[in-house]
């Protein structure tokens, strides 16, 4: 950076020698530091995420364990003798101090052991794993649909900005954003299942028959994805518009590129930078949105499992799933941060 001025005039300072010496060492220092700099902010960012995860786990644990009333009572029902309750409490490890219970839970979780539900007596880990085979594809399909709708719609909206068609696209996405996925789901069921009998109403046949499984996921994915597409189209539109108005796009056009070419060569990459954030954050909101949609379509995914656990007061399962979702959201945040740094050369090495 300083080389320019030194070319300009080597005699700027009375003490030019000292400056030049400093500059020499700076080059060496810079190259040394660069190697460290690439890693250091990454580690720092990773550390803040671990701290946030720890905080989240404490929060979940405390909220779910502050209330008086032992799960043992719930399990055994109102008729249970105090003795039986006490026995079960001890058996479940619920008589230990809260801090120990927390450490037990966390310790197991970190080792990948989700524990055993004291309601269904099943391994929570395998239940969650089973649920994820539904929720995972659902979320990914929804994201895909969202992108397939949002990208072209947003691009068209930006390119037609100021025209009637552009405003129409804007209005469409504005309305689309206001539709809750529940509503989208129910209306899709009414039209495509009840009236036209195209798709199965609800339930999930399992992956043993992939074709039927996919068919069962179509409507839920669309319920989530269409709304997502509306949201994304707004971000895409704003991002592309910003590019179209940028000085460097004008420079590109002054070199002889047409608007479309200039946008392809210079705009898309820069437009992608804010969009990566959006995709990351929206992926997180899809995971949460899946909870609702799975209930509309009775899909045996994470959402249904979570809700059943709440209704059965299966607190450990609730704890586990809440932590899983919170972790997913925070990890997505982290990935968004990191991808920023990959895409934008200006941010290399900053925290």
């Amino acid at each position: 950076m300083s080389a320019d001025e030194s070319q300009l005039s080597p005699h700027h300072l009375p003490s030019g020698g000292a400056v030049r010496g400093q500059r020499g060492s700076r080059t060496l220092g810079t190259s040394l530091r660069r190697a460290g700099l690439a890693l250091l902010p990454l580690l720092r960012r990773l550390a803040t995420m671990v701290v946030a995860l720890f905080g989240a786990s404490v929060l979940v644990f405390v909220v779910l364990n502050v209330l008086p009333g032992s799960p043992a009572e719930v399990i055994l029902g109102t008729q249970a003798t105090p003795r039986a309750v006490q026995q079960l409490t001890a058996q479940l490890g619920l008589n230990k101090p809260l801090i120990n219970q927390y450490l037990d839970w966390m310790g197991n979780l970190v080792r990948g052991n989700f524990g055993v539900s004291y309601i269904s007596h099943q391994s929570i880990g395998s239940q969650i794993g089973q649920a994820l085979t539904v929720t995972g594809p659902l979320v990914l399909f929804a994201l895909l649909i969202g992108l397939l709708i949002g990208l072209p719609l947003g691009l068209a909206g930006a390119l037609r900005n100021g025209r009637v068609s552009g405003s129409l696209i804007g209005a469409m996405s504005q309305v689309g954003m206001a539709v809750p996925s529940v509503v989208a789901g129910l209306l899709l069921i009414v039209v495509l299942t009840v009236k036209l009998h195209i798709f199965p109403t609800s339930g999930f046949p399992g992956w043993s028959d992939p074709w039927q499984a996919l068919r069962a996921l179509v409507l839920p994915s669309f319920s989530l994805g269409v709304v997502e597409g509306a949201i994304m189209s707004r971000y895409v539109r704003a991002s592309i518009l910003e590019q179209l108005r940028s000085d460097y796009l004008r420079t590109a056009r002054s070199k002889g590129l047409r608007v479309g070419q200039a946008l392809r060569r210079h705009g898309f990459r820069n437009a992608a930078i804010p969009l990566v954030t959006v995709v990351g954050l929206e992926l997180a909101s899809l995971v949460v949105g899946a909870i609702v949609v799975e209930n509309v379509f009775s899909l045996p995914g994470l959402g249904l499992l979570l809700l059943d656990s709440v209704n059965n007061r299966d607190l450990i399962t609730v704890q586990d799933i809440a932590m899983l979702v919170a972790t997913t959201v925070l990890v997505l945040n982290l990935l968004v941060d990191l991808s920023y740094r990959l895409l934008d050369p200006r941010l290399k090495g900053t925290a």
Binding site: A56, Q174, P180, S181, V183, V288, V292, L307, L315, A322
Partner: protein
């Protein structure tokens, strides 16, 4: 505005952004007009429903169950013969209550914390930001599930969940906007004539970020209504028989084949209400942008 061609020495108002025209702009922005109109309608129906609805929204009348829209029941009746229109009206109370209270919680915590994080660099700011990191892990729905698991489903768990989930949003929005103001030359000027941090926050920062915050509040109000509907639908919020758009949707599920209108009415109500608040928020931001560019 002065007539054009003002002579030297006279004050020339830049280019017609006189006070009168400035206020007039609100009514020229379609987002504000449409959004504001819808919001006003929802608020009105919420208020009216406290005193009057065509029928008692809870009155069961089995002989009139699942009636089609008619002169006596404008939007028909549900499976218990309750008047749909009355229930929609009564539901707007819940939506507004949950929206208002959750936004209040989010702002009451988020704005002061955001201002503090902006004004006090270093340790305090770091602590606040790390706490928001934690809360970021709990979107409204997840927070509501956890709270419902702990304290049981109710309107208040929904309010609390949505309110808490949006605290970090307000902290970030407040902080980043406040930082822009705090780094401005007019704040530097204020410090140069001896204004302390608190006075600067009150006199410069708050007035300058107010519009942005209000726009954000309107947007979050719309998100709160979305979340509330979803939570009620899941049975984690308002519980039957109290009318809310979410519970109405949930009970309509059983009649998708026969009485799809039972699904359509609350859907329309939710979409319109959410659209109203989000349009209003967008409109306010647009006006702010337009003013900044002028």
């Amino acid at each position: 505005m002065l007539p054009s061609g003002a002579r030297p020495g006279e004050i020339e108002v830049d280019d017609g952004f006189g006070d009168v025209e400035h206020h007039g702009r609100w009514l020229h922005n379609p987002s504000v007009v449409i959004g504001g109109g819808i919001v006003a309608l929802v608020v009105l129906s919420g208020i009216v429903s406290i005193f009057w609805t065509p029928y008692d929204p809870l009155a069961v009348n089995p002989s009139h169950a699942l009636a089609a829209p008619s002169m006596s029941h404008w939007l028909g009746t549900d499976e218990y013969g309750r008047d749909e229109f009355s229930r929609l009206m009564a539901s707007s109370q819940i939506a507004l209550f949950v929206g208002a209270l959750s936004v209040l919680i989010a702002t009451a915590v988020g704005i002061p914390a955001g201002l503090l994080a902006a004004a006090r660099e270093g340790a305090i700011s770091q602590v606040i930001l790390r706490l928001t990191d934690i809360l970021y892990g709990f979107p409204a729905l997840l927070a509501a599930v956890v709270l419902a698991a702990a304290f049981g489903a109710s309107k208040m768990t929904v309010v609390l969940a949505i309110g808490i989930a949006y605290i970090p949003v307000f902290i970030r929005v407040t902080r980043s906007n406040a930082l822009v103001v705090l780094n401005s030359e007019y704040v530097l000027a204020a410090r140069a004539y001896g204004r302390r941090t608190f006075a600067i926050l009150r006199r410069h920062v708050v007035p300058n970020i107010a519009t942005t915050i209000i726009a954000q509040m309107s947007l979050l109000f719309s998100l709160a209504i979305l979340a509330e509907a979803a939570l009620d639908f899941l049975g984690l919020g308002t519980v039957a028989p109290t009318a809310s758009w979410g519970t109405m949707l949930a009970s309509s599920q059983d009649y998708l084949g026969s009485d799809a209108l039972l699904t359509v009415w609350p859907s329309l109500a939710i979409v319109a209400c959410v659209l109203g608040f989000s349009l209003l928020g967008d409109g306010i931001s647009e006006l702010r942008e337009a003013r900044r560019r002028s």
